[in-house]
């Protein structure tokens, strides 16, 4: 592999120089096989021509008559056709993300982050962005169901009045509730009221991707339930142990923002990230050093680290000797060097260092890390300990115990308040049988899912965009959940259902206000409603004492543990709750670029050992269960481990995610049968056997490649596409990015056009700060009405995303490095696309935008052919025709009315959110004032947690974007073509540890000159 250590590749197929791929890459549209064009004979062509002419004539000659429906009484301050935004919050894993929802004529159309909220600082993640589609999902349940037949809320409360009769003698011993983690103070208050009235009732919180190991680990260490809140602004050295804290964490948006701040070399003191992980995650891609290690070897790594940190050469606090397995691991010099370097670095930065452990690791590992954090002086500096509310603490063992009790007939009334445990509970918590045995079973949910089908009653849940509620941010900040519309389908939220069962008034606003006034008094309400939160209401952190008498024993692995299977929460679907969301299903995963499927992630070396290939269907056997699923040969997956995402294989998600009643095949494979409460994340002793059959996985890694010429050209060019330098190199040559490409003096092919004075819109994207969270991709999709095309079309390279996240790997395929680059239309001043359009459908504006005029476009696709960045997307079909079907009417409301909905045969691409530019321009000119810098934000910029994307006016030298363009790090993609993109990138700078760089292979970071 020596000659491969310097190559960069987007997929392993490319690394191997697969001749098929070279052939495909040389064609503009990989889906148009040459034979279909050559094969159309003249007769067929004339038939088609005749048919289209006939259709054109049939499609009418004049407008439809339109009606104007005026209000009988228009609400005060209501302006028809104008947008308004409201502060609200979204509760995920019991932690609120503060949002601002844009409404148009009284319906929500776009979600943004709330700049005042500590969890978001104005940014969002993919799930908040996709909430709009979830809200308008036509398959949301629309009524109360009893045994599948329509019923009513009144009938429900009538039927359950005996179950919840305050006079019942057994103190509610037969009542049990399975709830999702919730940070709603109102829900907590009503839960307390319920448990007070029925003291023997059971309340179980279950999150399939919860952080219970973390909380239990801290219980071991401190004797109380605590959760860590990390402060990445203060952390200059971060060690992530199997922890994807940038995606798989309730506070991920804030993490991303804070970590990104310290990734910029201009920040003065760049942070340094070490990642030890089995699966290649976004943390691994961001890290300066990544060590692929099986998840089950991480405890041994922790032992070695603890020995080094706390032992004789460290803080001399005395640490238990590493076990035999750890000692044998330490024989590996790469690992030993990594431990040594990381430990020395952490020690050197005492109080500014941070160790984060992932949820997959056993509580004992979390406890040991808590002890190390204490010793490193991190407490209340880089980590603070926050008490855990009971309603947010997921407990899978309690769920298993409840199911066992129910199976024995001890549970009469079983309420599932949100969540879908029939689908997502571990296999040894048999919720389905429990629901069968209980006399009365109730499910509250957004859709009629697997659990709803197993319950007698199904209640439609009110979405957070349509219901009053409250929530608590990860740091405890009280947040108001404000509806933007009345419930579409008469749904109610969990608090309302509980209030109803307690015989209280089930008015959502009244319940929330009662909770609020108890805590803050009525006077603050309007302020809280406006801001979306109560300022300074965060929880006080505690400084707990370690229980030093406890020895946190780490399980000793035997030498032969077999193949390790890791489960992970899908960064898109999480635990399957977003399985019916087309935006998320079609979103290319950050590291694998996989859409519309989950697969068994196998590292290249492991795949060779197992004798399986990419896209081969394999039999995965463990715990006596055999599943068939396709293999994805994933660079960077630790040797000896394989991984699979949760959240797929839904049978009652809907027409997008799979439904047995609609005869829609499930997307992906459900691996729940392999999960046990004892091994929620790691399963050892799995066996994999190839079947020789192939299954096509829709990955986009080979789509829209900037280089059509394959590896060779890429090799020569990648350093130009994504120039990278270390912090040391940057200090010496801050303008390294300018000197990567050597070209003769640039001369224009065209007559230079003098643009008039005025705005010159431009963008800057910081590749040091971007961690590939994909929020921009979904934000763009929501803002610009970008259609979903489905797996078949993605396989043909026809996905429509206007912004794509390119990922380039380099180095050893089993331990690669990666660099990501978001690419949208670069808005070239000398745009090659404009030169070739025969109908002037893509033209330049005076402000430097490259306009796309849909009505003029006749679909020659010459522009896309001539685009060096491959950012243009063609509508091969009428991807929005389904909106006209009566059952999908609701989805029409999800479209942004400020942007044209495109039809078939039309090219489209990023417009720099021209609708937002125009809106602000008009408002500013109406008021006769200049546009302030930062007043116009593109959708991608607004969503971006680390603020890697900056949009603005280059004509104003004081604007942020102009200053960033002037930065020595700034470079234009393919600048040697002299097409003058208005978007420029800030070159990536990493901060590797000199001690490790010397010993590791040369990663091919070019020398500056």
């Amino acid at each position: 592999m020596t000659n491969q250590t310097t190559t960069h590749w987007r997929s392993l197929r490319e690394l191997e120089n697969d001749p098929d791929l070279v052939e495909i890459a040389s064609r503009e549209f990989k889906d148009i096989a040459p034979e279909t064009l050559e094969g159309v004979d003249r007769r067929r062509f004339l038939q088609l021509l005749g048919a289209s002419a006939a259709l054109a004539t049939a499609s009418g000659c004049s407008w439809e008559e339109e009606q104007i429906l005026s209000f009988s009484s228009r609400p005060e301050h209501f302006i028809p056709g104008a947008t308004k935004s409201f502060a609200t919050a979204m509760d995920l894993f019991g932690a609120a993300k503060g949002l601002r929802v844009t409404t148009f004529d009284g319906r929500p159309i776009k979600v943004e982050g709330n700049p005042l909220h500590p969890s978001s600082n104005g940014a969002t993640d993919v799930h908040a962005q996709a909430a709009i589609l979830e809200f308008y999902d036509p398959e949301r349940s629309r009524q109360v169901l009893r045994e599948g037949a329509p019923s009513s809320w009144d009938a429900f409360h009538e039927a359950l009045s005996t179950d919840f009769d305050p006079g019942r003698g057994d103190e509610g011993a037969g009542i049990a509730v399975i709830a999702r983690a919730s940070g709603s103070p109102t829900e907590a208050r009503l839960r307390a009221a319920l448990l007070e009235r029925f003291p023997r009732a059971t309340w179980v919180v279950y999150e399939p991707a919860g952080d219970e190991n973390h909380v239990r680990g801290n219980e071991l260490a401190f004797g109380r339930s605590l959760r860590a809140r990390y402060d990445f602004r203060r952390a200059r050295r971060v060690l992530a142990l199997d922890a994807d804290f940038l995606r798989d964490h309730a506070d991920c948006v804030r993490h991303s923002a804070e970590l990104g701040e310290g990734r910029r070399p201009e920040s003065g003191a760049m942070n340094r990230v070490y990642a030890v992980e089995s699966r290649f995650t976004s943390v691994g891609a961001t890290a300066d050093h990544r060590l692929p290690l099986r998840s089950s070897d991480v405890p041994a790594f922790v032992e070695l680290l603890e020995d080094r940190l706390l032992g004789e050469r460290g803080l001399r606090l005395g640490a238990p000797q590493p076990g035999p397995h750890a000692r044998s691991l330490a024989q590996n010099t790469t690992l030993a060097d990594f431990v040594e370097a990381a430990a020395a670095d952490l020690l050197e930065h005492r109080g500014e260092s941070l160790i984060v452990v992932g949820k997959s690791q056993a509580p004992e590992v979390h406890a040991r890390v808590a002890r190390m954090l204490q010793a490193l002086g991190c407490v209340d500096r880089t980590v603070s300990w926050l008490p855990v509310a009971e309603t947010t603490h997921s407990d899978s063992r309690a769920l298993r115990a409840l199911c066992a009790r129910a199976a024995a007939g001890d549970v009469e009334t079983l309420l599932v308040l949100g969540g879908n445990p029939v689908y997502d509970a571990p296999a040894d918590a048999d919720v389905a049988s429990a629901l069968e045995r209980a006399a009365t079973t109730v499910h509250l949910g957004l859709t009629v899912d697997e659990t709803a089908r197993a319950c007698q009653w199904h209640l439609p849940l009110a979405h957070f965009l349509e219901s009053w509620s409250d929530a608590t941010a990860f740091d405890g900040t009280y947040s108001v959940v404000q509806p933007t519309i009345l419930p579409l389908h008469g749904g109610r939220n969990a608090a309302q259902v509980l209030a109803g069962l307690l015989g209280e008034e089930a008015d959502a606003l009244g319940l929330v206000r009662a909770t609020f006034e108890q805590r803050f008094g009525a006077a603050q309400w309007n302020r809280a409603l406006h801001d979306g939160l109560v300022a300074d209401s965060a929880q006080k952190s505690v400084v707990p004492a370690l229980r030093d008498e406890v020895e946190y024993r780490i399980e000793e692995l035997s030498a032969d543990t077999g193949l390790e299977l890791d489960f992970y929460a899908c960064p898109k679907l999480i635990d399957g709750r977003y399985a019916n969301n087309g935006w998320l299903q079609e979103l290319p995963d950050f590291t694998t670029k996989l859409t519309w499927d989950n697969a068994l992630m196998v590292g290249p070396a492991t795949a060779a050992e197992l004798g399986v290939e990419h896209e081969e269907v394999v039999e995965l056997t463990a715990l006596g269960v055999t599943l068939e699923l396709p293999v994805y040969v994933a660079p960077g997956q630790a040797r000896g481990s394989v991984a699979v995402a949760l959240g797929y294989g839904r049978t009652a998600a809907g027409v997008v995610g799979g439904s047995t009643t609609e005869a829609v095949t499930s997307v992906g494979v459900d691996v729940r049968q392999l999960r046990r409460t004892a091994g929620m994340w790691i399963l050892r002793g799995a066996r994999v056997r190839g079947t020789g059959r192939k299954y096509a996985l829709a990955t986009t890694s080979e789509h829209h490649m900037i280089d059509g010429a394959g590896m060779e050209a890429r090799e020569a060019r990648l350093d130009r596409l994504v120039p990278t330098a270390t912090a040391a190199e940057f200090a010496e040559h801050p303008d390294f990015a300018q000197h990567v490409v050597h070209h003769p003096p640039l001369e224009s092919l065209w007559k230079e056009v003098e643009l008039p004075d005025g705005h010159r819109w431009g963008m800057s994207i910081d590749l040091s700060a971007c961690d590939g969270c994909n929020a921009c991709v979904i934000a763009c999709q929501a803002e610009n009405n970008i259609p979903v095309v489905g797996k078949e079309q993605v396989l043909k390279g026809r996905e429509m995303h206007w912004i794509r996240m390119d990922l380039y790997y380099s180095g050893d395929p089993d331990a690669p490095e990666a660099v990501t680059q978001p690419v949208a239309c670069q808005q070239c001043e000398h745009a090659p696309c404009e030169q070739v359009c025969p109908v002037a459908a893509t033209v330049h504006t005076q402000e430097g935008l490259n306009d796309m005029v849909y009505n003029r476009c006749v679909g020659t696709r010459y522009c896309s052919n001539n685009c060096p960045f491959k950012v243009r997307r063609f509508n091969f079909f009428n991807n929005t025709a389904f909106l006209d079907e009566p059952q999908n009417e609701l989805l029409q409301l999800a479209q942004n009315p400020e942007v044209t909905v495109r039809s078939r045969g039309v090219m489209e691409k990023c417009t720099f959110c021209v609708q937002r530019i125009q809106k602000t321009k008009i408002a500013a000119k109406n008021a006769q004032r200049p546009i302030e810098d930062g007043e116009i934000q593109s959708a991608c910029q607004q969503a971006c947690p680390p603020q890697a994307i900056v949009f603005g006016d280059l004509a104003d030298p004081t604007s942020r974007v102009a200053q960033l363009h002037a930065s020595p790090r700034s470079y234009a993609l393919l600048g040697e073509l002299n097409i003058r993109p208005r978007n420029q990138y800030l070159a990536r700078v990493t901060n590797p540890n000199p001690a490790l760089v010397a010993t590791s292979v040369d990663h091919g970071h070019h020398s500056s000159h």
Binding site: E65, S70, F71, T911, V914
Partner: protein, 216 residues
């Protein structure tokens, strides 16, 4: 190989060719004439409305300001049609029993909308903004005509893209002092173009003809 010959009867068709050519010419000319006719462009379109509201009476004789009803015209894209409640400000006392106003009273009583027929209907891919025009000094009259003299509102301008561009390229004749925008009878003293040019300079009016100005 035997050569292909057209059958003899096809000769009869050749004689018909001049007729075909003539008809084609007529068709083409007719098509162009029809396509460009004011009727096709909906000039003169004056649909019947559920209530025979007279702009001539209200805006003309009674001289009610346009903005009394179309309140949002200066701040939003839409010059919103007034809610029924606005009408009832007067019509609770003036002609409260008029049979012509029954739809209005019903709308208020039932809290239901009145279904007006849209007269000035732009294509859905056009993003026109009223506020951007009236705050620059483009009067209502430039696009809607003398509504204050219309018993029934009708479209007087083609509202086609070419017509929009005429003004965007040369706005001077249509720019007037902002305080005269809603004065439909206002006539400039002297040369309208000269005045417009001066106002444009003063207020920095430079309309764009870029596609994305109106199409997004």
């Amino acid at each position: 190989m035997q050569r292909f010959h057209f059958p003899r009867w096809t000769n009869a068709l050749v004689r018909g060719l001049p007729v075909v050519a003539f008809l084609s010419a007529v068709y083409l000319v007719g098509l162009l004439a029809f396509g460009a006719s004011p009727e096709t462009l909906a000039v003169g379109y004056a649909p019947r409305q559920p209530i025979p509201f007279s702009h001539k009476l209200h805006a003309g004789e009674l001289a009610i300001d346009c903005r009394y009803c179309h309140t949002t015209v200066e701040e939003a894209a839409h010059a919103a049609v007034p809610p029924a409640a606005t009408c009832m400000n007067c019509h609770t006392r003036i002609k409260p029993q008029s049979p012509l106003l029954r739809p209005l009273r019903e709308a208020v009583a039932k809290d239901e909308p009145i279904r007006w027929t849209r007269v000035h209907d732009l294509a859905d891919y056009v993003y026109f903004d009223h506020s951007a025009h009236v705050t620059r000094g483009v009067s209502c009259v430039s696009c809607h005509g003398r509504v204050d003299q219309m018993e029934v509102v009708e479209q007087v301008e083609p509202l086609s893209m070419g017509w929009c561009l005429e003004c965007h390229r040369d706005p001077a004749p249509n720019v007037r002092p902002v305080d005269k925008v809603f004065d439909l009878a206002w006539e400039p003293q002297g040369d309208a173009r000269e005045l417009g040019r001066r106002l444009m300079e003063e207020r920095g009016i430079a309309p764009s003809t870029d596609c994305s100005t109106c199409h997004r």
